[in-house]
C-alpha cells in the first residue's frame, strides 16, 4: 500500500466527487451492458437471436437514421448493430413515458420509494474497493488535485462490510413502501412477499460473509480481500467454496432474481411491487435490480473469489511471472464480475421459480443452519492455522 498522501480539505472533496463520478460512470456502463448481455445470452440459450435492432419505424430518430443510412447504400448501422442501440431506446422510452401516479396512492411515499431503492443500490459502491491503493495518478495539469493518486476505493473505511450490508438492506424499504403506497392488491402481495423474503435472506447472506470475516479478522474491505486472497490456509478452501455457493444463493434472493423472483413473479402477481409504476420510476426499480446484481457479484468476487485484484486461494503465485495479469490488477475483478453476472443470466434461462413458502423454507431450514456451521468451522480453521 502506498503511504497516505496528505490532502487539503478542498483537494479531498474534489477527489471524492471525482471518484463518485467515476463510480457512477462504472455503474452506468456495467448495468446497461448487463441488460444487453441478458437479452443476448438468454436469447442464445433459448435458440433465438435476442435483440437485433431497434427501429422499424419511418418516423422519429431511428427512422431518420435508417433513411440516411439506406440512402448512402449502407445497412443502417446505428439502429441495427446487434441490438445495442436498443439500450438507448430503453432509456429513452423510460424517460419519455408518462409518469402515472394512481389517484388513491400515497403520493409522497409512492414518489420516494423508487429513489430509495436506487440510492441504496448506488451508495454501496462507496465502500467497494476496486484496486489496491491507487488506480492511477492524476496528471500534473489537472486543476486542484493534479499529481494526486486516484484511489481504487472511494472510502477504505474500517467497517466497510457493515456499511455495505447496512445500506443494501435499506433497499427493501423502497420495495415495501412502493408496494404499500400503490394502494393496489397485487403490489401489496408482491411487497409483502418481498419484505419477508429479503429480510429472511439477509440473515444467511450476512452469516455467510461472516466466515471470511472470521478468517481474515477484519471488516475493512481492502485488508479483508487481500488477506483472503493471499494468506488463507488451504484448510479454509472448502469453507470458502461452500460459503460462496450459499452467498450466491442468497444473492439471487436479495436481488429478486429467478428462482427467487417472488416479489415480481410476473405470472402470479402481474408485475409484483412495481405494477403501478411507469416511466422512469419503474426504471429506477429496474436499474436498482441490475445494480444490486453488480453489487452482489462484486462482493462475491471480493470475498470468495480472491478479492478485486488477485486469483483466489493463493493461486496467483503460479502466474506471478506472467506480465500484466501476473501483477495484481483490476482486470481480474472485471472478469469475476462478468462471470458472476453471466451466472445470474444463465440461471434465469435454466430453472423455474420456487413457491413463496418454499423459498422461506430454503432460507430458514437449510441456509441459516449451514451458515452457522460455516462460521463455527471458520473459527476452528482460524484457531488451527
Amino acid at each position: 500500500m502506498n503511504a497516505p498522501v496528505q490532502m487539503t480539505i478542498l483537494q479531498s472533496s474534489v477527489m471524492a466527487i471525482l471518484q463518485a463520478v467515476a463510480a457512477i460512470i462504472f455503474i452506468f456502463v456495467v448495468v446497461p451492458m448487463t441488460i444487453y448481455a441478458e437479452r443476448k445470452v438468454i436469447g442464445h440459450a433459448q435458440d433465438r437471436l435476442g435483440a437485433t435492432r431497434i427501429a422499424g419505424r419511418r418516423v422519429g430518430l431511428t427512422g431518420f437514421l435508417n433513411k440516411w443510412m439506406w440512402r448512402m447504400g449502407k445497412v443502417p448501422l446505428l439502429s441495427y448493430w446487434r441490438g445495442l442501440p436498443m439500450l438507448v431506446g430503453d432509456i429513452a422510452k423510460m424517460f419519455l413515458k408518462e409518469d402515472v401516479v394512481p389517484s388513491k396512492a400515497d403520493r409522497a411515499i409512492f414518489l420516494a420509494a423508487p429513489c430509495l431503492s436506487m440510492i441504496a443500490a448506488v451508495v454501496v459502491f462507496a465502500a467497494i474497493s476496486f484496486s489496491p491503493g491507487a488506480l492511477f495518478t492524476l496528471p500534473k495539469w489537472f486543476p486542484i488535485v493534479g499529481g494526486l493518486p486516484f484511489n481504487g476505493a472511494m472510502t477504505d473505511m474500517n467497517v466497510g462490510l457493515l456499511f455495505i450490508l447496512g445500506i443494501a438492506s435499506v433497499g427493501v424499504y423502497g420495495i415495501v413502501l412502493g408496494a404499500w403506497a400503490s394502494n393496489s392488491k397485487y403490489p401489496l402481495l408482491g411487497g409483502l412477499r418481498s419484505g419477508a423474503q429479503i429480510v429472511s435472506y439477509e440473515v444467511p447472506l450476512t452469516l455467510s460473509l461472516l466466515a471470511p470475516v472470521v478468517l481474515a479478522g477484519t471488516l475493512n474491505f481492502g485488508t479483508l480481500t487481500r488477506v483472503l486472497a493471499v494468506e488463507t490456509s488451504p484448510l479454509a478452501i472448502p469453507l470458502m467454496v461452500v460459503g460462496f455457493l450459499v452467498y450466491l444463493t442468497c444473492g439471487f434472493a436479495e436481488t429478486n432474481r429467478v428462482p427467487f423472483d417472488m416479489p415480481e413473479a410476473e405470472n402470479e402477481l402481474v408485475a409484483g411491487f412495481h405494477t403501478e409504476y411507469s416511466g422512469m420510476r419503474f426504471g429506477f426499480f429496474y436499474l436498482a435490480e441490475y445494480i444490486n446484481m453488480v453489487v452482489v457479484s462484486c462482493l462475491a468476487g471480493a470475498f470468495f473469489l480472491g478479492g478485486p485484484w488477485l486469483l483466489p486461494f493463493g493461486l496467483h503465485q503460479f502466474i506471478a511471472h506472467v506480465p500484466v495479469v501476473g501483477q495484481p490488477c483490476a482486470l481480474w475483478f472485471v472478469l469475476k464480475i462478468i462471470f458472476l453476472l453471466w451466472v445470474f443470466i444463465w440461471v434465469r434461462a435454466t430453472i423455474p421459480r420456487y413457491r413463496y413458502d418454499q423459498i422461506m423454507a430454503v432460507a430458514w431450514k437449510y441456509l441459516i443452519p449451514m451458515t452457522l456451521v460455516l462460521v463455527v468451522l471458520a473459527g476452528v480453521v482460524k484457531f488451527v492455522a
Partner: protein, 366 residues
C-alpha cells in the same frame, strides 16, 4: 387492534397467466386461497347459435375458433358427427390422414400446454424450445390445408385433397427429430428439483372427484382412470392403431405432466403407423351437392387433446342446417374442478393448476 380480514382479489380477465380471459375471484387469507370462483364468458361469441344458422358444410369454420390450439381435433369431431348424422362412410385413406393430422394436432396442443405451463412456473426456456417444434407442425398443417392455426382441415365425407407432394418427407423429418426434442424438454424439467417441488402434490384431483365432475382427458388419466375415447369408442382409424394409454396414480400436477409427455410419445407412434401403413384409394366419399337433414340426433365424442370433445347435433327434416348444435367442451368441464383443486393452497399453485388443466378460453366460452 388487529383484525383478520380476507382479501378478495380478481385474477384476470387481464392477467399474464390465466391463459386468456379467464377471471378468478379469489379470497385470500395471506397467500392461502380460501375460496375461488371462476368467472367465464369474456370470450363468448355464440358459436353454437351461429352454427345453427350455417349449413353443415359451413359450420366447420366455426369449430376452428373454439379451441384455437387444437383446431384439427375440433374439425374432426364436427366432420365425424355430421357423417354420423347422415350415415356417410368415409374412405379408409381419408381416415388415416385424418388420424395423422389429429395426432399432429395433439402434439401441437400439448406443446403449447408444456410451453405455457413451464412459463407460468418460471421455466422460460422450455417455452421457446417447444415452439420450435410446434412451428414445424404448423408447417405441416400449412402444407396440407393451406393454413396454420385455424385449419378447417377436413370436408364432410373425407378430405378435399390428397396429401400434397413432399408431404410424407415433412412428416418423416418431423418424426426423426421429435424424440430428441422430447428428451430436451425432459432434461429441462423432469428431474429438476424446483420443477418437482412446484408440481408434486399440487392441485390434486382424486379419481372419484374427477369422475363425479365429468373431468376427462389427461387430467382424468393422471388420476388413474384409464379412459380414452380413442380406445373406448374408437373413431377415425384409431381401431387399427397400436398405442397405449398412459396413466398415473398420483393425480397431481406432476403426474399430469408425465401423462401428457407420454401421450406425446404415443402420438408420435400413431403418426408413424399412419404414414407407414397409408392405404391407397380415394379420399372423398360420394356426396350429394346439398345435405338435407332428416329428423335425427347424434352425439359424437372424440378425444381432443384436452379431453372428451362431444358434438351434439339435432337434424330437422329438410333443413340445410342443424336444428340444435351443442358442444361438450373438455375445457369447460375440466375448469369446474379448479376450485376443488386449489382451495387451501397458495397463489402460486393457482397458476400451476390453471396451467395443468390446460384451459383454452375459446372453447370454454365458445
Amino acid at each position: 387492534m388487529f383484525k383478520n380480514e380476507e382479501m378478495e382479489i380478481n385474477m384476470g380477465p387481464q392477467h399474464p397467466s390465466t391463459h386468456g380471459v379467464l377471471r378468478l375471484k379469489l379470497k385470500l387469507d395471506g397467500e392461502v386461497i380460501t375460496s375461488c370462483r371462476p368467472c367465464i364468458g369474456y370470450l363468448h361469441r355464440g358459436v353454437e347459435k351461429i352454427c345453427e344458422n350455417k349449413t353443415f358444410f359451413q359450420g366447420q369454420v366455426w369449430t376452428d375458433r373454439m379451441d384455437y390450439c387444437s383446431a384439427v381435433a375440433n374439425n374432426l369431431g364436427w366432420a365425424e358427427a355430421i357423417e354420423k348424422l347422415f350415415g356417410i362412410t368415409v374412405p379408409r385413406k381419408a381416415l388415416y390422414i385424418r388420424t395423422m393430422l389429429n395426432e399432429f394436432n395433439r402434439l401441437a396442443s400439448h406443446l403449447i400446454w408444456l410451453a405455457t405451463h413451464g412459463l407460468d412456473i418460471g421455466a422460460m426456456t422450455v417455452f421457446l424450445y417447444t415452439f420450435r417444434e410446434r412451428e414445424r407442425i404448423l408447417d405441416i398443417n400449412e402444407a396440407f390445408c393451406g393454413s396454420r392455426l385455424t385449419t378447417t382441415a377436413f370436408r364432410i365425407g373425407g378430405l378435399r385433397e390428397d396429401m400434397p407432394p413432399g408431404f410424407e418427407k415433412l412428416v418423416r423429418d418431423f418424426l426423426a427429430i421429435f424424440p430428441d426434442a422430447m428428451n430436451e424438454y425432459e432434461t429441462m424439467l423432469t428431474e429438476n428439483r424446483i420443477w418437482k417441488k412446484r408440481t408434486i402434490g399440487v392441485g390434486i384431483l382424486k379419481a372419484e372427484d374427477a369422475v363425479a365432475m365429468g373431468v376427462t382427458g389427461p387430467v382424468l388419466r393422471a388420476a388413474g382412470v384409464e379412459y380414452d375415447i380413442r380406445k373406448a369408442h374408437p373413431y377415425a382409424a384409431y381401431s387399427e392403431m397400436d398405442f397405449s394409454i398412459p396413466t398415473r396414480m398420483e393425480a397431481d400436477t406432476y403426474a399430469r405432466y408425465l401423462v401428457r409427455l407420454e401421450e406425446m410419445r404415443q402420438s408420435a407412434r400413431i403418426i408413424q403407423q399412419c404414414i407407414d401403413g397409408m392405404p391407397e384409394g380415394p379420399v372423398m366419399a360420394k356426396l350429394p351437392k346439398v345435405l338435407r337433414a332428416e329428423v335425427n340426433e347424434v352425439y359424437h365424442p372424440t378425444e381432443a387433446p384436452k379431453g372428451e370433445l362431444g358434438y351434439y347435433l339435432v337434424g330437422e327434416k329438410g333443413s340445410l342446417n342443424p336444428y340444435r348444435f351443442h358442444v361438450r367442451a373438455p375445457g369447460f368441464v375440466n375448469l369446474q374442478a379448479l376450485p376443488k383443486m386449489i382451495e387451501g393452497s397458495m397463489v402460486a399453485d393457482v397458476i400451476a393448476t390453471i396451467g395443468t388443466l390446460d384451459v383454452v378460453l375459446g372453447e370454454i366460452d365458445r
